[in-house]
Symmetry: D2
Subunit: 365 residues, 4 copies
């Protein structure tokens, strides 16, 4: 693991998620940005190989024989390091699991994609919301044609934790996210990419053009924190995507509704064990993660009524990546466990760039 | 009453709502569009004065002495007749309660507004959703500054009943709504105006510019049935309004969320006795219509936990109109019972016209 | 109407409900308990015939020719007067609509039942919750065998408004309910009877024996305010009924769940437009009052998604009573609109008496 | 670990929960009931020390020096083995984590309690629902007096998976639970103990007497599957506890509501990240696990809006046990992380025994 030391939110989540099923162990890392803190953090985390810099980590791991080397590097640094660090591991022939957004700019993302393509490593972008069993069930329904042709997509991601200028108060999570040099975009990169990916993952629709109204609502903030986007998809569907971090009262309000010619589905991340499914002329059904009449696999670990949450979904993304890594190592097929790939990562960065380029006008994809 | 005869949905609703509190009686009317059916419908409805045409009704009522004349005419015809019929009653000095959208075109609306202004009659447009007690409570909170300056408005009105080309199958409610000559606009006029009015009623914000993506999603339909609108308000707030009648699984999904600098409110028409209110740093509260810690008046008839619904809200709009009429008749103040006025009606038609004019670009108000 | 004058809660509800469909008019009444206030209240309510005492009302109405006499008397006095007043109207050949609980004691109830039987008048007890369309839909499902044999019934009625000794503070609604001489029982009579009736209405099950734990939780109160009852039904089903008025935070929490061998239903009065229906091996469906795949008649006035509430349900009970009265007057059948009869009223009083007699032991019905 | 091999539900849950925070590792075990399968299962699970019988495991681990011995044994066998296996480990001086119900009979439980007391080992019973952060928040509120004196407790645990005679069809989870020799009681032991413990954990109330109506609703089943219990608590509170596994449509419906003199709380296990809290005269608040205005610690791992579930709660119980074990090993205090102890386990078995002894009459505790 690179990044994810003291005070980090997402580092410990990655560690819990990746090891939940006993398929992996965290053995090496450079968890902080200065050698001193990196070494301290790594020892606290009980890593066997603690590195002071990520460059050292790449160098030393590359030099190890195959059986002793790490199987994958997990990159959970602030965004500005993703491209460089990920490329270095890929060049070293080490598989990569990288947090989103993939990079700060589309140019960086496309360059990284080429590098990954050249090296052939497995590359997983942790769009963790795709790991929820009911999100996967939605995907099967929508892509399987159960709703008919999609007409309208409504996806929203509302948070309230940046309703004030938290970065100015020195809050660590807020600080780097508010610095364009570190984060790239603001809300669009941080949560808009999740919304875009959820929509794409479930529907498979391709954006044809979009019109985005993006701004910084909080005085003194230099990155975007509040955006609405009109979407036109190839094939005729329309949609609205909203991503805002200034909505007081919202916690982690990612939600999606998809309306097709013959049915619709609706899902909310904050109560992820339920999915509402409507078909024309029928009463709405409430499908549960593992309940009667509902989906039967899709990464479920527990019987119905035993809530699964964020970490379990995250673990499913890892499970998919591990299957791909094992398949590559052993030469066998990875099975049908999807994991978001670098193509998803690039598309997310393109989405951010297109939104920022729109300035309220329609722009092509 | 003019219109609202056999097979009508909204006519009987108006009759129940207007008489719920025992403040009014339906005594005269021309309920259908041909003299024969108008007379038959009127007799069935037990009216004392049954007219074959609305022109006859205006003529004869105008000629009656003040004490015997109707106090107000309720116009619930298809949209294309609103302007003409309403103007005729206004000219006759008879107060008017008119269904929404006010007219088919902005020119018609503004002409009617001038006429009403000249005559001084009370003119109420039945934006019935403003009658819900918790909508009025929201209005007080938002306009009273409880949320701080508004940052974001999310208003949506989703229905599914026009997901197929119902008009082509001869369904009466669908048929006139699908005919541009009778209805003017489609979903924008039918439900978009309700969404616009709800947003304006609650926040008092003025639209500065908007960018609307409007279309007919169902093949063979000539009016709009599916629209998304980006909104910029004077003062800096942003918003999204969605109005669609092709969303399978949706019944009457009018919902509003308003996010301010210090708090937010969220309300859904389909469960109208609850209002979620958040303030920064506090747990979300669930206010109920007449419950502890909630609003105390606002047109509530029943104790908490005894659900009120659509008709009661509708009746509150009538109650406001009746108060205004009594105030005019007796020269006393109408009190603080709001009723939507012709200005609201004109603004709604302007909204439709601006959306249709936008064609995906930003247009001023 | 007898009772229901100034400060009454339920009187105005009866007036709105009975006249909602334009099938009835309130024309005569003795609304308060002293002649002066009765006359004042009656005039305020705009009644044509205002009586100072209910005895006078019975006398004078009985003397009128059939066409001029009232069609039915509505009795909404405190409980202690129900038996006497209802019997007097029945003896006068005047149909009766009487609030619940029917009487204070089972002896009074049975005597009244005999009187009503002798006279042949239509007698409706306003168990208003039976008027909700989805309650009627439940009844059809359960009685029609859709769930298989019923195994378990869970019915609860929680309120919080009597969590303190409100009667001691002089609150009018609380005061008479707290006086055993006026009310008979406390929570058991006031809301327990509603719960018992809802359960019986929906399932048709007959109680074989019950074991009730009844008490006054609030110091200084002499009637019961908090009760739990174990139920055994003929045929083997079991159940729990809870009725309490001391549950802070509850408004009008009447809810029922019925579990059968092959399915279950669940309904909550506070959101009455939704019904959850489960069948073995299938996802739970959310039926709505007038929605797709749901019930199609059952007393619905509005399209789906347009909430109906307490008054509309109440109006459905009146509609049933009016149909029965018209049937009696015209000799034709009353149709399939159920209205709770005096038998329901007697059963409710028996339920209260059996619970009070139980003192924690099993007692037969 | 003893038990929890192939086809087991709860074994893998224990493994995920115990290792979630990286505080423990599963190193030794006897996972199945025959030596062959135990060895196979243990190897599949990747254990370092695989034992063919639990007796061998006790013997061999006891013989190891302190630093090499297991810190605790986790017992997840069918119920009939709990007492014997737990006692053996305790006698060997090895701490024990044991699934519920503690034993089949109260005699077994009390004997085990004495044994544990003699040995001084840490003994944790995995009443996992106590690990939910909001359950702990409820406990603090209720025990801290925020609701005033408790008046009424409503706790229910409804499942539907045993609505048919699944055991007769050979389903493994159902089979041993349906055999009195292996399980002791049926629903009362399996889920009734969870309900009892949740109620006790949150309120601290002691049952004074109870009256239970217990039966087997499904033909051919010899253990109880459907029970309702009236409760009287020391200090005057009353309650109802329901536990049934024959309720079609229910998944894992554990829910609790507690009403005090000044407030109430309500929580449902199936949506565990929300807690409804009411105070007299105030609107109900929806507290979230880590949200604004809500509890601040209590075992939360993730920011608000990121759902935690069953495994995370389970892990909190382990966290508490681990803290106690470390405290014992190091001589330092265990901190304020509660873990259910053997006393909770004994109380649960007493609850089952009292319910079965009641046969519909009141019995003392």
């Amino acid at each position: 693991m690179v990044g994810g030391g003291r005070g980090a939110f997402i580092g410990p989540v990655h560690r819990m998620a990746a090891t939940l099923d006993g398929e992996a162990e965290f053995v090496a890392g450079c968890l902080s940005s200065t050698p001193e803190r990196a070494i301290e953090s790594g020892r606290e985390a009980g890593l066997k190989s603690v590195y002071g810099t990520w460059e050292e980590m790449v160098e030393r791991e590359r030099a190890l024989p195959a059986g002793e080397r790490i199987d994958a590097a997990v990159i959970v640094t602030p965004n500005h390091l993703h491209a460089t660090v990920a490329a270095a591991f890929a060049k070293a022939g080490i598989n990569v699991v990288c947090d989103k957004p993939l990079t700060r700019t589309l140019a960086e993302a496309e360059e990284l994609e080429r590098e990954v393509s050249r090296t052939g490593v497995v590359f997983c972008v942790t769009y963790n919301y795709t790991g929820y069993p009911l999100v996967r069930a939605m995907r099967e329904m929508v892509r399987g044609g159960q709703l008919g042709a999609v007409r309208r997509v409504a996806v929203e991601y509302y948070q309230g934790w940046l309703a004030t200028n938290l970065a100015a108060e020195g809050q660590k999570q807020a600080a780097w996210r508010a610095d364009p040099a570190l984060a790239g975009a603001g809300a669009l990169g941080d949560i808009g990419t999740h919304a875009e990916n959820l929509m794409s993952f479930v529907t498979g629709l391709e954006v044809e053009s979009l019109c985005a109204d993006v701004r910084s609502a909080v005085a003194g903030r230099t990155v975007d924190d509040d955006a609405s986007v009109l979407l036109r998809f190839r094939g005729g569907a329309r949609g609205v995507l909203t991503a805002s971090q200034v909505c007081v009262g919202e916690e982690n309000g990612l939600a999606i509704r998809i309306y097709g010619e013959r049915g619709s589905v609706a899902w909310r991340q904050e109560n992820p064990n339920e999915l509402r499914v409507s078909a024309e002329g029928e009463a709405t059904r409430v499908l549960t993660r593992a309940g009667a009449g509902g989906p039967t696999s899709n990464g479920t670990r527990l019987p119905s009524g035993h809530p699964e949450g964020f970490i379990e979904a995250f673990a499913n993304v890892y499970r998919g990546a591990f299957a791909a890594i094992r398949a590559k190592q052993g030469g066998q097929a990875a099975g049908n466990l999807p994991h978001p790939t670098i193509a998803d990562g690039v598309r997310g960065v393109r989405f951010v760039e297109r939104c920022l380029a729109s300035k309220g006008s329609w722009v092509g994809w």
